[in-house]
């Protein structure tokens, strides 16, 4: 797939909670190439510390070339990113990696936990503009607290999706893990897309595996280049080989991934 380096301009930098941010970048060239599930490598500093770019899923795109990131500050790079303000520029490489795939004309379920929600909005937008109506698909989203979940869930709702929610503290929706919302829904869908913490993805992969429903999972790993050059971004495949997340992924058929490690 084609990817490019683009110097984007920050159109808005919103702080959603203490540590969650949404960045709207004007990056028309990358947006014109982007497919749901792909990611960008972001330069978070103009100096050499931190040295490497940071990978972020493409959260959403707009028709006029805006690219959205949804991210949580966890360390050096994301903290620097959160200090940027409107009008500043951010150097991006993307779109990178493969994308979610939909084999058409049936109902699916999107499950996201925490920042794993990020790639699902773009995917939901894509699905809603396609052959099926949003109403027939299911969206399950989970997070720690309502403050974190509400603003993100709204975006799915405005696409016309019926969204079921779960929070760790019960402040919104189901009190518990979002994966607990899946069992009653699973028999009625023909495909699942999951992104979130590994335990969530593993649990969802297991549930799908048991009743043989196809499941695509978006994987995270440490990356140096995002370009397939460093060979650093490995995960264990179920076939005993290593998979490179930036090249073979980030979207994997859940069956290809060795979840037990």
């Amino acid at each position: 797939m084609t990817s490019i380096q683009e110097n984007s301009r920050i159109k808005s930098a919103e702080q959603i909670t203490e540590d969650i941010f949404r960045l709207t970048l004007h990056a028309p060239m990358i947006v014109s190439l982007a497919k749901p599930g792909q990611f960008v490598m972001v330069k978070t500093s103009s100096n050499l510390d931190p040295l490497l770019r940071r990978p972020f899923s493409i959260h959403d795109v707009s028709a006029d070339g805006d690219l959205l990131l949804l991210y949580k500050t966890i360390g050096k790079g994301t903290t620097l990113l959160s200090a940027l303000t409107q009008g500043m520029s951010v150097d991006l490489i993307g779109p990178l990696g493969n994308c979610f795939t939909y084999s058409g004309n049936h109902d699916v379920c999107l499950i996201g936990g925490g920042m794993g929600i990020a790639p699902l909005l773009f995917w939901a937008r894509h699905l809603s503009s396609g052959v099926t109506k949003p109403g027939t698909h299911r969206v399950l989203l989970g997070a720690r607290h309502r403050r974190e979940l509400q603003p993100v869930a709204t975006a799915f709702q405005s696409l016309g999706y019926n969204v079921d929610l779960a929070t760790d503290d019960g402040s919104l929706g189901h009190h518990g893990f979002v994966s607990q919302l899946l069992p009653p829904i699973l028999p009625s869908v023909q495909g699942v897309y999951v992104c979130g913490p590994t335990p969530l993805m593993q649990e969802v992969a297991n549930q799908c595996h048991e009743i043989d429903i196809p499941c695509q999972a978006s994987m995270e790993t440490h990356m140096a280049c995002g370009l397939g050059a460093c060979l650093g971004c490995t995960i264990h495949g179920s076939d005993g080989t290593y998979k490179h997340v930036c090249k073979h992924g980030p979207i994997f058929d859940a069956k290809e991934v060795l979840w037990t490690i």
């Binding site: 084609t2 990817s3 490019i4 380096q5 330069k43 050499l48 510390d49 931190p50 040295l51 490497l52 770019r53 490489i93 790993t221 440490h222 990356m223 140096a224 280049c225 370009l227 397939g228 050059a229 460093c230 060979l231 650093g232 971004c233 490995t234 995960i235 264990h236 080989t241 290593y242």
Partner: protein, 315 residues
């Protein structure tokens, strides 16, 4: 030699032990894939040379994850020499490399002198390869796993074997994890090396303080990036003063200024490594930066710059 055409009056061409490069900017093994990965970010035809990821006789799966850790101004990698192996390299990677205009150097690695010799022989049979770079940072399994690159006699033996079995120019790539880099350089020069490249990565480590486990599955890994540049530059200067074959400088080079430091210290060419990851257009930027520098300093040929360091009395 159409790739030597150049609008600028400045001549960037250099010769590395028989390999004629349009300019001294190469990309380092393991950091530039097989070239294709960077086609969208740099003009591959304009680069001096590409050194491809280290090739072994058989494919290698490499180390389990986690393979990389970021460190201050650097990174550790423990890829574990994952590569497609000789056969698939020739079948799947070489054709594309042949289609681009820049020089192609194949980095080779083995567990024994015989493996290096075999690779050298086989690769010499294929068109489209301009030179070999011998990675001697690998453990010699027959000698209890001591790295070839930490023992002058072993390094010399590998060099001799590769030279004997190959018709291609041979660059030997030194490990910096030694007390006396000049001694290593002299040993490989004595072994017949046509050129020397340095440095490979320095051995480092990082620990997850919450899990109290190494961050790398391999425990230790190779440190690269700007952090190591001062060490690399010192070693390149020492080696350039110790041998009479050309030296290629590697280690933390990410800007034109970095490349110039190495050239002035005595390197005939440079390789860009880790910088390709955070700045995939680095090679292009540096090539045009070198031209600008030469123009500004009224130099017509890059050759005049090489080893021009003045170490006369300083105050």
């Amino acid at each position: 030699m159409d790739h030597l055409n150049n609008q600028s009056p400045v001549d960037l061409a250099v010769n590395i032990g028989g390999i004629q490069l349009a300019n001294p900017v190469m990309t380092a093994s393991g950091t530039f894939g097989y070239g294709r990965e960077f086609a969208q970010f740099v003009n591959l035809d304009a680069i001096g040379g590409i050194v491809v990821k280290g090739i072994s006789i058989e494919p290698r799966a490499g180390n389990p994850p986690q393979r990389i850790v970021e460190t201050p101004c650097g990174m550790l990698n423990a890829i574990g020499l994952e590569n497609v192996g000789l056969e698939r390299f020739i079948a799947q990677k070489l054709p594309y490399l042949r289609s681009i205009k820049c020089r192609v150097v194949v980095n080779i690695l083995g567990d024994s002198v015989e493996e290096y010799a075999y690779l050298a022989e086989k690769l010499s049979e294929h068109a489209g390869i301009d030179g070999l770079e011998v990675n001697i940072s690998c453990p010699n399994v027959k000698k209890g796993g001591v790295a070839f690159g930490t023992n002058p006699a072993m390094a010399q033996a590998v060099t001799e074997a590769v030279k004997k079995h190959s018709t291609l120019p041979v660059i030997v790539k030194l490990s910096p994890n030694v007390t006396d880099i000049a001694a290593m350089a002299k040993a490989v020069e004595a072994g017949g090396a046509d050129a020397i490249s340095l440095i490979n990565t320095l051995i480092g480590m990082a620990i997850d303080i919450d899990k109290r486990r190494p961050r790398l599955a391999n425990i230790i890994g190779g440190l690269s990036g700007p952090a190591i540049k001062p060490i690399a530059l010192r070693m390149v200067w020492q080696v350039a003063n110790a041998v009479s074959i050309p030296v290629i400088g590697i280690g933390g080079i990410g800007t034109t200024e970095d490349a110039l430091e190495f050239l002035i210290a005595g390197a005939t060419a440079v390789q860009i490594g880790t910088a390709n990851f955070y700045d995939p257009g680095a090679a292009d930027t540096i090539i045009s930066g070198l031209t600008t520098y030469l123009e500004q300093h009224n130099e017509t040929s890059l050759i005049n710059l090489i080893g021009s360091l003045d170490t006369g009395v300083l105050s």
